[in-house]
Amino acid sequence: MGEQAPIAIVLAPLFGALLIAFVGIRFKALCLPVTLGALTVSLAATIETFRTVLSEGEFIYLISGWERLGEGKGISIGIEYRVDAISALVLLVIAAVSLLVAVYSRTRVVAETPDRIPYYYMLYLLLVAGLAGMTITNDAFNLFVLLEISSLTSYALIAVGSRRAVLSAFNYVIMGTIGASFYLLGVGYLYIKTGVLNMEDIHAVIVANDLAESPSIQVAFVLILMAVWIKMAFFPLHAWLPNAYSYSPTTTGALMAPLVTKVMIYIMIRMMVTVFGLDYAFRATLGMPFNWSNLVVSLSSIAIVAGSVMALSRRDLKKMLSYIIIAEVGYMVGGAWLANERGMTGAVYHIVNDAFMTLCLFLAVGVFIARTGDPRIAGMNGLFKKMPITMAAFTIGALSMIGLPPTCGFFSKWYLVGGGIEAGQWHFVGALLFSSLVNAVIFFRIFEIAYFPKELSDPAPECTDPDAAPVATLQRTPLSMSLPLWISAIALIGLGIFNHTITQWIGSALGSLKFFPPAG
């Protein structure tokens, strides 16, 4: 069964969703166990796949069994999966995070969307299937279909939230559709010049026919980049993200914030590495007096600074975290475009780290809101005394965001800043350090509020939203919420300590690539 593990990663959540449709609608209590079961199977399959990759290196899984045509590598006529160490790592993150959030959702979904439990879990599972499918596929068009699955499910998962969530979901639909359509167009422009849809085949044709200078390919590159940037909320295309994440239900935020942007960054790296090739990605100029590497790194420096500054002025916890995510997206995009191996390693490694960091923080914030009923930072008054254990986990997450050892955030910075120095992109280095300091200010301000109790001058705002049912605040943190939180917090330290192993895996996938120093 080992060789069938890759397909099981995607199928397990799909069948889980079907099972809920069959039995979960009538027996609501079964929804969560089915979800957990499906995600566990998916996680097991991911681990199996990961082991295969580690022992045998990158491999292809042929869906429908259509062998490649022709001599040598040939071209693919069916749809394939392609797993290498990087995608296996991202899959592992998806499986682990989704399982943790599912455990966490036990009380939250019942409290926040009591009448829609089966639908919620179906969407949840299908979102996971879509994300995993995007990560593993080797077909440019198939990626679009799965992208749409993950988009549609995330629109819905956001829109089941409060009054404001619906509005932000609509904006997300508009932006998301533009993004997905750009991607589709980009694939079309590639197809018209290459006649193939398989990612590796596209690359092979581009190289063989010397299409690097072709305007269609260049436009396709721009379109696909714009598409992934919109989807990953790369500044200044970020406008949909903060409201969408902060007004959505707790579980949605906790699932989407760690995964969706990160998977899109993976897709971007995949496009750069597999479809266009690094040489193309870093050097293509579009006839302009700059090259991509310098341009994108500059953009990401701006993104990092802008995201951090915007986060600084937020008073709502989730919103503040959302802007931090925007800054973090800048880290990864910048790292990937530094045009050296250390930067790329840092970007991929940070995908893993940032997923767990955001997870940890969103889970902790979810616990705070569930306990205090107050989404504002000011609502955390005196929490160190009230719930020291949760605060400790939050502290680990925050330290990781700031980038203090021994958490993994420090080691991400290590690679990213190191890559920046190596590439001589000093503004990127400066932006990273600036953002670390801003994060330090943000989080230590929170710590101060939570550590130095003070009489609140204004009480928690009355709930004016008629549709947001007054969710009762919990007296104690249930184990289903604290356990995933703690696992994610411990993961942050584990990922930091084992950073060398992880980067070696990443390096094994990147090893065969040639990194060119950016020209000029």
Binding site: Q4, I7, L14, I63, Y119, S216
Partner: protein, 252 residues
């Protein structure tokens, strides 16, 4: 905002048009997409590999069947998403602007109902034909499924959603929609259980009384049926929820 939007739009347009200069001539037989190995392979070998004359159907449900499965899942997602968003689970119509309260005529119109009664059976038969004849002519699961769904929508239009819901209850919608995908993915799963890769239909010849190539052809029909079932159920569900704002009472 408007100026910015115009700028962005014009910029995108200019970029897209810039690339058209590079495109192969329209209708060229030798363009990479048309004359390339991939498309030629489909056209030239579809007969020997799948025995399905309609190349589009063969590519859709066999070569790229994995895509099509998730395409069906997209429909399924849209269906459950709309239920999750709109369906009013007995909380009353809280939050409705009063102008929207349903005030429908009590009695359905005689002419409309009778016409519909005439049309609907024909429509449904035709839908099944479109579905089943997808191997030989334009058609297939999606087209057939949409027609089938349309027949129920027609009932709802003529008699109100409640009447249609008697034929296609909410519970049934959910079951059918899931069954459709289960038929599709289950076919793939059987291939997997028989020891081949997911959706590798030829291995079905071990349980179907045919040779491996015909097994592909038959399997395409099976999965197309699955698609049709899901699409029909979800199309009606989308209509019912949108038209009644989630109450599933009354209708347009």
């Amino acid at each position: 905002m408007k100026g910015l939007a115009l700028f962005a739009v014009v910029l995108t347009g200019a970029l897209l048009l810039y690339a058209t200069g590079d495109f192969p001539a329209w209708g060229s037989v030798h363009s990479p997409a048309n004359g390339g190995e991939l498309s030629s392979h489909y056209i030239e070998n579809v007969r020997t590999e799948t025995k399905v004359p309609n190349i589009v159907t063969a590519v859709l449900a066999d070569y790229r069947s994995y895509d099509t499965m998730f395409e069906t899942v997209v429909v399924f997602v849209a269906g459950i998403a709309i239920i999750a968003l709109l369906r009013d689970f007995g909380n009353g119509s809280r939050g409705y602007p009063p102008a929207l309260a349903n005030n429908l005529p009590e009695e359905p119109d005689l002419i409309i109902t009778q016409t519909c009664n005439l049309v609907i059976p024909v429509l449904q038969i035709f839908a099944l034909y479109v579905l089943a004849h997808g191997h030989y002519s334009p058609g297939g699961g999606f087209q057939g499924g949409v027609m089938l769904g349309a027949s129920y929508i027609l009932i709802a239009l003529a008699n109100g959603v409640e009447v249609a819901m008697k034929a296609m209850s909410e519970r049934k919608i959910m079951l059918l929609a899931a069954t459709g995908i289960l038929i599709y993915s289950g076919t793939g799963l059987i291939c997997l259980l028989l020891g081949e890769n997911f959706l590798d239909y030829h291995v079905l010849s071990r349980i179907l009384p045919t040779d491996p190539i015909m097994a592909r052809s038959h399997a395409i029909l099976i999965v197309e049926t699955g698609v049709a079932v899901t699409v029909a159920a979800i199309m009606f569900s989308i209509y019912a929820n949108l038209a009644t704002r989630g109450t599933l009472k009354g209708g347009l």
